[in-house]
């Protein structure tokens, strides 16, 4: 249904030559894998699908096309649209070079453990989707399907608050155990639409921002730096946590930062509105004064 409409729109755009590339999803290895797809010819549109496994945030790929001569069309769910907003705010892509096809998102499902087909309805929602407050795209040129009703979100700061209540040593032990698992694959950084620096400070190894040992101090440094770098820019798409091969609770750090930013400088949701300045990129004369 939505898939058919997607294909029709993509076909139309490509046939008319309005866009050079359409970024969507196709089926992957198994029935529970949907994976990013890039098409540039109308006859390829039949590969496009939209189902319960299109978890990938496609906005980040716009960076690969920012120098393209033609427009790029991209399908955006609620979280993807916020990501596009972020890229626009950072002047990474220009609005007239992208064509956004909005898809209201019912929430994506966890992949099961077996290759045998199962009832999709019985599968649990992805963690990142349970916390989602914006299933409908906030920015689009055209919308496919009807908006889904806004969900009531389980308290997204519950895990953060639970951890805040613990003692310093308990917190340190908790995070130590987490960061010890990190293998430094940088999947969290590479999938993150807020991480859009042309060159990441961690790749500029001559500068030694980060040593190459895989040990606790270095992974702590990496994770905390990344949390500070995406502060005020994290759109809570939860992709970092979803792609982490080691299952680190990265969003528990990002949400802590978001919670603090809200408490300190007023409520702010990144990527909701193009005109809002991210909280660390602006200031008020009457900001909380704790330092004296």
């Amino acid at each position: 249904m939505i898939t058919e409409q997607m294909r029709a729109i993509a076909k139309d755009l490509l046939e008319k030559g309005e866009v050079g590339t359409v970024i969507g999803w196709e089926k992957g290895t198994f029935w529970y894998n949907s994976t990013p797809l890039f098409i540039s010819k109308p006859e390829q549109v039949d590969k496009l699908v939209f189902d319960e496994f299109c978890a990938n945030n496609l906005a980040k790929y716009l960076l690969d096309f920012k120098l393209a001569e033609t427009k790029t069309a991209v399908f955006v769910k609620g979280c993807d649209a916020r990501a596009v907003n972020r890229l626009l705010q950072d002047n990474q892509v220009s609005r007239d070079k992208v064509y956004l096809i909005g898809i209201p998102c019912p929430g994506m499902k966890e992949a099961p453990k077996t290759a045998q087909p199962q009832d999709i309805a019985g599968l649990p929602l992805l963690t990142k989707c349970k916390m989602c407050a914006t299933p409908n795209p906030v920015l689009f040129d055209v919308m496919v399907g009807d908006p889904v009703p806004d969900k009531k979100v389980a308290d997204r700061f519950a895990a953060v608050e639970a951890l805040e209540g613990k003692s310093a040593d308990e917190k340190y032990a908790y995070w130590g155990k987490m960061f010890e698992k990190c293998i430094r694959c940088y999947a969290c950084r590479n999938v993150c639409p807020a991480c859009n620096c042309r060159e990441c400070c961690f790749d500029a190894n001559g500068l030694n921002w980060l040593g190459k040992q895989n040990n606790l101090p270095e992974t702590q440094m990496f994770s905390m730096t990344r949390a500070m770098h995406v502060a005020g820019r994290c759109i809570e798409c939860g992709e970092c946590e979803r792609v982490c091969p080691m299952g680190l609770p990265i969003m528990e750090i990002n949400r802590k930062v978001i919670k603090d930013l809200n408490e300190l400088f007023g409520p702010y949701d990144a990527g909701m509105n193009l005109d809002d300045r991210p909280p660390l990129g602006t200031y008020k004369l009457d900001d909380p004064e704790k330092f004296m």
């Binding site: 290895t29 198994f30 994976t35 293998i183 694959c185 940088y186 590479n190 190894n205 190459k212 091969p245």
Partner: protein, 333 residues
């Protein structure tokens, strides 16, 4: 064939752990890996671990030598330690194949890597066969690995249902495992069950020869588009062995270490004169060609064992089996 009941395995492991460093597959916290055996640890014998066993011989970070400087003077002290005997218990045939590949790299072609060799020589490897795919993403059978029987190990355990059938593959295995722990084993006539079907299969016949003609093929541009350029595949791969050498300096002393590196990172080949692999197209191509062409040309084996780790954890479902299929179908116009 000798055998031990699966239910009694813990008593055997207890006995081994008393005398040697015993590494077993342990799961917990959303991951599984080979870790020192402790009583009460969550052992994971139902398939391959998420993290490959390569770090047993080739740790992610390994100190090579310490140094001190004093004005113009300097001294170097090697950090190679003589490891004590360790038993690596429960690797799967795909992992056994990967260790065979690592042996090619670290022990042949004129130079022997002593850091690797010291650990390898001090290790008794005990493998366990699989009677079917442990994960949907397993495709070891397609890569020329016999899922039920590992090669290049000291002792192999066949999965006989309620028992493990124990067979020594080397003299070392005979002496240090079968004879030493003989009291734990009984005799069995049970047969290895039939192998279950693998949902994922791929034909790799002639892939190397085909790839030789495909360096400039547009396919690479196509498959690389969705790659994020993270290192998850290379760090989870049991055969990926590329490393970096770097140093930690603190004032007038420090140490030089080697650490895993990933050809998917932009910094990997960067030189002062430029980068021969500037975009992800070149990097994805290099990874695939290294696995399927270059390594075969150099050492005679494919550098993929079909363990499926990259496939299961890739954030964008980059599927090496699909790429192999695309390569086989590609036109060489």
């Amino acid at each position: 064939m000798k055998a031990i009941a699966k239910a009694k395995l813990n008593t055997l492991l207890d006995a081994i752990a008393k005398e040697s460093n015993l590494l077993v597959p342990v799961s917990g916290d959303g991951t599984s890996k080979f870790a020192p055996y402790t009583q009460g640890a969550q052992l994971s014998f139902d398939g391959r671990t998420l993290l490959p066993p390569k770090d047993v011989f080739f740790p992610q970070t390994e100190k090579m030598y310490k140094f001190k400087t004093n004005g113009m003077n300097a001294s170097v002290e090697t950090a190679l330690e003589a490891p004590r005997l360790q038993v690596l218990f429960g690797i799967r045939p795909c992992d056994a194949k990967s260790i065979h590949c690592l042996d090619h790299v670290f022990l042949t072609k004129g130079y022997v890597d002593e850091f690797y060799k010291a650990k390898k020589d001090a290790t008794l490897i005990v493998s366990i066969g699989c009677n079917g795919p442990a994960q949907p993403t397993c495709f070891c059978k397609s890569m020329g690995v016999n899922p039920q029987e590992a090669e290049g190990v000291d002792v192999h355990l066949y999965d006989l249902g309620t028992d493990y059938g124990v067979v020594a593959k080397t003299e070392k295995g005979e002496k240090l495992f079968l004879d030493k722990y003989a009291s734990f084993f009984t005799e069995t006539t049970a047969q290895v069950p039939a192998l279950a079907d693998f949902p994922l299969e791929v034909n790799v016949d002639g892939i190397t020869e085909k790839l030789e003609k495909m360096f400039d093929h547009p396919l690479w541009e196509e498959v690389a588009k969705k790659c994020l350029g993270c290192g998850a595949c290379t760090y989870l791969c049991p055969t990926c062995h590329c490393f970096d050498i770097s140093a930690r300096v603190a004032g007038d002393q420090g140490f030089r270490f080697r650490c895993w590196d990933s050809c998917m990172f932009s910094e990997y080949t960067r030189m002062s004169a430029g980068n021969p692999r500037p975009s992800k197209k070149e990097r994805v191509r290099n990874r695939m060609l290294h696995k399927l062409q270059y390594f075969k040309e150099r050492y005679g084996d494919l550098l993929c064992t079909g363990c499926g780790r990259c496939l299961s954890k890739c954030p964008v479902n980059m599927d090496i089996t699909k790429i192999i299929k695309q390569v086989r179908e590609a036109d060489l116009a």
